[in-house]
């Protein structure tokens, strides 16, 4: 029973973001149908908030993380593909959410992310952030 997403500073940032949403600033952007990018950005923020509120399953993270290790070296070495070990939880969640929404370009990463469920992103983020730096 591990609470992988228990990152206090991450939760504070999320709370601030949630407040912005409640105050109505972001939904105003979203109501503009011409502004797809803004809608997507809002969707990314909301999904990130949602994922960060979940408890992460470390065993699921370890299994799904194996798929990442084919390209991203677990030792963190870098050559043509960036290292991902020990990245902060909120960074990984945000990146995967943005790939899932098609907001980032790399087609391998879009492929790997497009069918990820919120719980799976939570598990992956907890797994990779748990590596020592």
């Amino acid at each position: 029973m591990t609470k992988g997403m228990g990152n206090a500073s991450g939760k504070t940032a999320v709370a601030a973001l949630a407040l912005t949403v409640v105050l109505g600033r972001v939904p105003a952007f979203a109501s503009d149908p011409a502004s797809d990018l803004t809608k997507q950005a809002l969707e990314a923020r909301q999904a990130t908030t949602r994922v960060l509120s979940l408890d992460a399953d470390p065993e699921l993270g370890a299994y799904l993380g194996g798929e990442c290790a084919t390209c991203h070296q677990q030792a963190g070495a870098t050559s043509g593909i960036p290292p991902i070990r020990a990245l902060p939880v909120d960074y990984i969640v945000r990146a995967l959410v943005e790939y899932r929404l098609g907001m980032r370009d790399n087609n391998v990463m879009k492929l790997m992310s497009v069918r990820l469920k919120d719980e799976e992103i939570a598990a992956l983020a907890a797994y990779f952030s748990s590596f020592p730096e």
């Binding site: 408890d55 799904l64 798929e67 084919t70 050559s79 043509g80 087609n107 790997m112």
Partner: protein, 428 residues
């Protein structure tokens, strides 16, 4: 804890199989305190990955043995990059030492000749027996030399297939580098299914790169293909026209009418249409699962191994898993990436099977990168899930024609990163 406990534990499997039978047939490793034994045959992208993920995930609770005849592994993937002169042979050859020492894996260096499924032992060429509770077969491919009349293991010493990396790859490179301008290459491409679908066409690109780099203008590369179309065809044909105009000619069966025979001594490939002559013949015959799969009785009449799409478990023996090129993996191509992906699904299911670890729904993925000319890389990839009784593609992408040079260069650099990544994932 999250509600993602959708995997099937061994206990549930016991219920599915009939609880009474499961208790009566309780295997030795449940009665004794010795760790269950998992034996893996074949140390390629599938087998090495399976050994590592089994040993790593079980943390000493499994006794993991890797049977592999060789002390080193030369990767088929990137062997075309070696052929093109971008890498040396050493850089695609890797030792098992790190894998064995880091994860407490036993390596048995020798050939597995047979599997006694009733006794659950692997019989080695020297007559010794290796016992197992679960067996992972990752033997890769064997070449069906007779699929091209006139071709044989002996003929391959003159006209290399180079479809199993090693001495054959070095032979093809030496023969390629020795060609003079005006001497031609004739490649016979394999029929489906075969290892590395874009491989023959990336190889033609790399051979053309070598000839072009030497300033050759008269040599040609002729590909005689039993298939009507091939992987990444639009991308390769665009690249060939751009970089190697007039140098590479591809003939499908509607043109050549069928491959009748080869004569490697005379350097001739006879088809219904015509006889093609080359100073270098590269004959890539049909393929089937490595011999141990048929010896174990888990291959079908076409020579490949049917598996359960959710676990990579053989449909013919529940103590055996088959991964990589030898398996019938539905929509997945036979590639190192696929084998590595399948190995992780098998390892998870074997741990669930033997140790009550959790098994999650299987996910598979693959990406195949190909290099057409310096800094011009393309890729095709897909994600797969068990669906409709097979491993089924659920998402996919492919590079587009007319992509800009910066993207193609980034794609090549990504492939180099992937190579280093999968090697680390297999061996360290």
């Amino acid at each position: 804890m999250s509600a993602l406990r959708t995997g099937i534990s061994r206990r549930q499997f016991g219920l599915v199989m009939g609880a009474g039978a499961a208790t009566l047939a309780m295997p030795a490793y449940l009665r004794a305190q010795t760790p269950p034994r998992v034996v893996i045959i074949g140390g390629g992208a599938g087998g090495a990955t399976a050994a590592k993920y089994l040993a790593k995930g079980a943390k000493g609770a499994l006794d993991v043995t890797l049977i592999e005849d060789s002390d080193t592994f030369t990767t088929c993937f990137f062997s075309n990059i070696y052929l093109g002169g971008y890498r040396d042979f050493q850089s695609i050859t890797h030792s098992y030492d790190g894998l064995v020492s880091a994860y407490g894996i036993k390596k048995v260096t020798g050939m597995a000749k047979a599997v006694d499924r009733a006794a659950k032992t692997v019989t080695m060429a020297d007559g010794s027996a290796v016992p197992y509770d679960r067996l992972v077969l990752a033997p890769g491919i064997d070449l069906v030399y007779g699929s091209v009349p006139g071709y044989s293991a002996e003929a391959a010493e003159i006209a290399p297939h180079a479809w199993k990396a090693g001495a054959q790859t070095e032979l093809l490179k030496a023969r390629l580098d020795a060609l003079a301008d005006g001497e031609n290459i004739v490649m016979v491409a394999p029929p489906n299914p075969y290892r590395c679908p874009p491989g023959p066409y990336e190889r033609a690109s790399m051979m053309a790169h070598v000839l072009k780099s030497k300033g050759f203008t008269k040599s040609k590369i002729v590909i005689i293909d039993p298939k009507e179309k091939f992987s990444k065809q639009g991308l390769f044909e665009e690249g060939w026209a751009k970089y190697y105009p007039g140098m590479i000619e591809w003939y499908g069966p509607d043109v050549h009418g069928g491959i009748k025979s080869v004569n490697v001594k005379d350097g001739k490939v006879e088809t219904d249409l015509d006889t093609f002559a080359g100073a270098l013949l590269n004959i890539i015959p049909a393929q089937q699962a490595g011999a141990i799969a048929a010896a174990a009785g888990v291959a079908d009449d076409k020579g490949w191994c049917p598996i359960d799409a959710a676990s990579m478990r053989s449909t013919m023996d529940e103590a055996i898993y088959v991964i990589g090129d030898a398996s019938i993996a539905g929509d997945m191509p036979k590639s190192g990436f696929s084998a590595n992906s399948q190995a992780k699904v098998a390892a998870m299911n074997i741990r669930a099977d033997l140790l009550d670890a959790k098994a999650f729904p299987a996910k598979y993925s693959n990406t195949c990168w190909s290099l057409i000319e310096t800094d011009d890389g393309v890729k095709v990839g897909a994600q797969y899930e068990p669906k409709d009784g097979k491993i089924t593609s659920v998402e996919s992408f492919i590079s587009k024609t007319e992509e800009d040079a910066a993207l193609r260069k980034a794609t090549y650099e990504e492939s180099v990163g992937w190579y280093d990544g999968i090697i680390a994932d297999m061996f360290s």
